[in-house]
Symmetry: D2
Subunit: 382 residues, 4 copies
């Protein structure tokens, strides 16, 4: 797809995702990790305005003087920001005003793209598109959390549904040796996927399929949430302190298990891949099976043989820089490097991942305690 | 005013107060003490539905089966309630649906009132009206907090404006003796205003006017927020831990003081009565003046000589039961008695107090740390 | 007793109380309210050094230049103090050094008293003695807490034992009228017991005896810790958040109730007065009985008819200044007034109260949540 | 050294380390990470008692029935444990009793070793020795923290002194290629150092010396603690929330920098290697220099060329299992694996590291926020 078309599509996709929401759903932040949908819509717009229009669009007038700091996220270099945990108190600007802001900036970018933009502009638009696509996936997580924690379990629609994981269990073997890791194509990739570098892998066997709800239920029913031998010390404290006994969105009601998805609360389907567990839980499940999670390198090398894309797959890999990693200069440089501490890598993609982000070298990352991510489990033999 | 007319007026007043809000403003809870306006509108309606319609209206069908627990507040006897601190995450039901709920219940109450209702019903409607009026005042506090903590200081309108306190300073004297405290009229009063009982007061002299911003500014400029001698031990910790250096809604910008009100951010007017300070600050100010705050009994006895009604006036009185106090039976009995612990009484009324709540025996109460109340300072000589 | 003898006795009593402790017991602070015994021994000494010796003893040389700030408590005027919650980390000076400090200061005070001291000195020594006696009672509470929360329940000895409350239940009546409150004798009293003033009391009937463990056990067994109707809202949250289901030091082991006292863990004696409950629990117990707690004025007026002195008795009275109350000048003025906020008065005395502190006008006070106090329940009919 | 002699020496070394302490110093826990010295002495003894004597010593009688759970740490499989954060409240058993316990267990182990013990016993004694040696190093950290946070800065003695880092700056180069990682000797190693496995390293240049105080001071004076561009997002929040502006034990007094060591507070020596900074600070310092920290593999391969052993050196490596890592069965298996989550590896050794623990394959690990570790900085060129 051409850049301009991709830009238009991306801007539309974000809005389509939010279209079924009520105004009220756009505003709240029921968990520090969850941003109000309104904020995502504005922040992705702010990115285009601040990194492109303010610098490259002639005579550009900012939509509103306050938006520069209101919709900043971590880009400390761009000016004082409002506190992340207070995003859910910001009622103004309204949703209507944010949509206006989107149109204003979208039009200005399109105009900028019409006049032979320099390469730097094209590069930044591409980054802006990828940035907005990342936020589309977060929007899916956040909307699910906002609706899924309502006492009334509202129904949004038949979206982001998972396929059943009913393949016959097979173990795919990868032989030991030196492999190359990192993005080698011509297209876009994030700075954290580079440089390409060699790693040495031992032989390993990896599952052809994701763990499903039925298997995970056995783990629960075996008392695993009360068996500290299966858990990281940190994970054990996490589930104890937060009284966690099952994945997020599972509910035990009148003797039966249910789970919430965008189409409402329904009986637990044992054949669907299990989702919405923390890395601690994924790790404990693997330990209970006498197996382990893959490293991010194992996953990347095995990817071509795997059937992936349903859920982000927890690896047993801390998110760290590749040898020779260099951050971009200035504010864009804040993008990835500063998070390379106590975060865990997830590989693959989920049903909520925008097209084009599905590449084996992609390094998604979250804190091990994150449960609202569309995450799953793939085992490796010990 | 007849009960039915008062009921209609009360229902309309609540909605009129919210009319200038954006949908987004109805939803958030930026402080644990602040409830979303939507919640107030629904909760006051829930009161009429649960205490009246469900019991006394023939063939009454509840508007929605979930609303019973969604809009309960402290009435534990009425069923499981959602956590107070999570009110700001509840996006559903929507504002539109809440207004529908209001119309539905208002109509049903009017119908109930049309058919020769028994005295118990009339009594409960009167309580319901007073309950909703109390929430109207809280609505004013909460709306001001929601808007006043927006980084953009939105303007709501020319409402609830204070009059300047520019009277000549006089000291009104009350002689020692036995006085009667408590409500003695025929109209409505809350259970905490009863029984009427005698107290013995020493002679005291009370100010004819409230402390104003100019006087309070001198207190600030004298370094009082750094002088622990003026403060309660608890108050000193409160201002230290919360980095409080001035009343809520005051801002020091480019060398000048401003304060926020519903009409926006404006230069501090030294003649307006000072408002939005905690009881700790009121107490420290009095100490700095070499004076003290009145007790609630002193205030009640002096009331006929005072010019009051601008701001609730902090007393140096803990909120405690009158001798012989008895709580109502059942859920309504939860209303007042259970809060008689570590709360401070405020007397008088504010510009946001609904008509009819302005009686000298009224006992308003908040925790000493509350700053979003429309509160002021009246001094008594030591 | 002559002042000098009383001084000598007081100094000895504090040390006698600590004599059975191990060095380790002197050091720790297992709860923010609990101070290390070592700290009490040093702080009471510091009081004599700073308020007397430094000012009035000729050529006095401070024992150690650091002790001035190390053993300050709330007397902010005396210089920077170490944080209260960190007292339990202070290993130096050692216990041995603190005893040296005590001897040094005791000797210097005795010398000061030998040379015709001015009245101001005598007055301050009297205050210092009363101050140390108050700390003796706190020492008893703190030592009990330190030992009573050891997993091994160590035995200290047969001290501070309660008498059984097995009198026949009677109700003593006091008639309505004007009464005088406050200390009227010639001896020492604290500033908060003054001035003497009149109050008007309604007729009331008060129990001749304290509530005992057996009665309290019925309250527990009736499910009262799960019945929110009995509790203050603040009390209900307190017991929920802290998982409180019984008084402090009670243990349910293998189907039977035990309680810890200085003589070790023993079977609950139903005839002993119940002790170590918060004011919330005392209030809930009274509500369960259909009765109430006395006010502090009722208690003071009834005192001559009561059999008291076993446990401090919770009143339903906030700790507030008497009409005309004035604080002492300077650092000593910090003593009482600054705590007159959200504290509850206890009247009477306990088995750990030093002789001479047992007067009906004494106003002890603690936060309603305090459970380590030697506190009990006396009921008044509603 | 023979096993028996090493055992005797190890037991003596722990006690020698504590010999200069006052009884009080043995008891407190001024930070959740810091255990009371008494606890270390008992816990290392408990290890020998529970894993050896209880299982292998004929007719062995436990020293005390309570010590089994009192001195357990993370070994959940061995029975209920007391909460880690409450260790500093445990005054009983006393220090004297703990030394008795040590003698009792030491004697029993010696006796066990005298009667032709089976290999399993010898293996466990070796593990127990290594375990106690690890605690010796922690003892050094904890004693320094306990004394170094006393307001009086007590002097312990001339121990664990660092050598100046005044070598000429050189950069040692290691060429890219496949290297072997992990312990290959015949002696003792921990499970986390195995299995030996291959890694692929890129070429890198590593400093011949540690960063010293003078260099670190420049970093401070350049405003680096206020420059978010240098920090991990997590690190930036850590220093903001904890108001950190310099390494632990540094003090700025009357215009000059001082640092605390066991020999007391003294002027900052710019030539000593900088110590006691978190990994966040080490990372930020490297970023400020335009360099980076080594990975753990780089460090291990370069070790033979380096002059190390003064301070543990922060790597930019999360603590994770080696390929094929398997945990020991049962309680001993809890030892290392369960901490492989959000911990950072430190390589080398410190002046407080017991002889025999100084091997290049040793993997020390702490949370990135840990500042009381004897840690230092070694740079690698970017």
């Amino acid at each position: 797809m051409k850049l301009k078309d991709l830009f238009i599509k991306t801007r539309k996709d974000s809005e389509a995702l939010c279209a079924p929401l009520e105004t009220e759903d756009y505003v709240v932040q029921p968990h520090p990790n969850v941003s109000p949908p309104k904020w995502h819509l504005a922040h992705t717009t702010w990115f285009f305005e601040q990194f492109l229009l303010v610098k490259y669009a002639e005579n550009y007038q900012e939509f509103h003087p306050d938006f520069g700091f209101l919709f900043n996220s971590y880009y400390n270099n761009m000016g004082e920001r409002t506190l992340r945990q207070n995003r859910g108190f910001m009622t103004r600007p309204t949703v209507t005003k944010v949509y206006e802001y989107r149109r204003y900036v979208t039009d200005a970018i399109l105009k900028l793209l019409d006049y032979n933009p320099i390469d730097e502009v094209l590069k930044l638009v591409e980054i802006g598109i990828n940035h907005e696509q990342q936020h589309q996936e977060l929007l899916a997580y956040d909307i699910k959390y906002i609706l899924g924690t309502q006492p009334t379990f509202p129904v949004l629609g038949e979206i982001f549904k998972l396929k059943e994981a009913t393949q016959v269990q097979e173990w795919l073997s990868v032989s030991e040796g030196i492999y190359e890791i990192g993005y080698q194509g011509d297209g876009f990739c994030f700075d954290n996927e580079l440089p390409v570098h060699k790693v040495y892998l031992e032989t390993f066997e990896i599952s052809n399929k994701l763990t499903n709800n039925g298997e995970y239920l056995e783990f629960i029913q075996d008392g695993s949430y009360d068996n500290f031998n299966l858990w990281h010390d940190e994970g054990w404290h996490f589930i104890q302190n937060n009284h966690i006994k099952h994945p997020l969105y599972w509910h035990f009601i009148d003797g039966a298990w249910y789970h919430y998805h965008f189409n409402g609360l329904e009986k637990l389907n044992p054949n669907l891949p299990v989702s919405h567990m923390s890395m601690y839980e994924a790790y404990a499940f693997a330990a209970w099976k006498g197996m382990r999670l893959p490293t991010e390198f194992e996953w990347e090398i095995a990817a071509s043989q795997l059937n992936w894309g349903q859920l982000w797959e927890w690896t047993n890999a801390a998110y760290q820089p590749y040898p020779g990693f260099t951050e971009a200069e200035g504010a864009l440089g804040e993008y990835n490097g500063k998070f390379m501490m106590n975060q865990t890598v997830l590989k693959g993609a989920s049903v909520a991942t925008p097209k084009g982000h599905e590449r084996p070298t992609y390094r998604n990352f979250f804190h091990a305690s994150s449960r609202w991510v569309f995450s799953g489990i793939r085992l490796v033999k010990k």
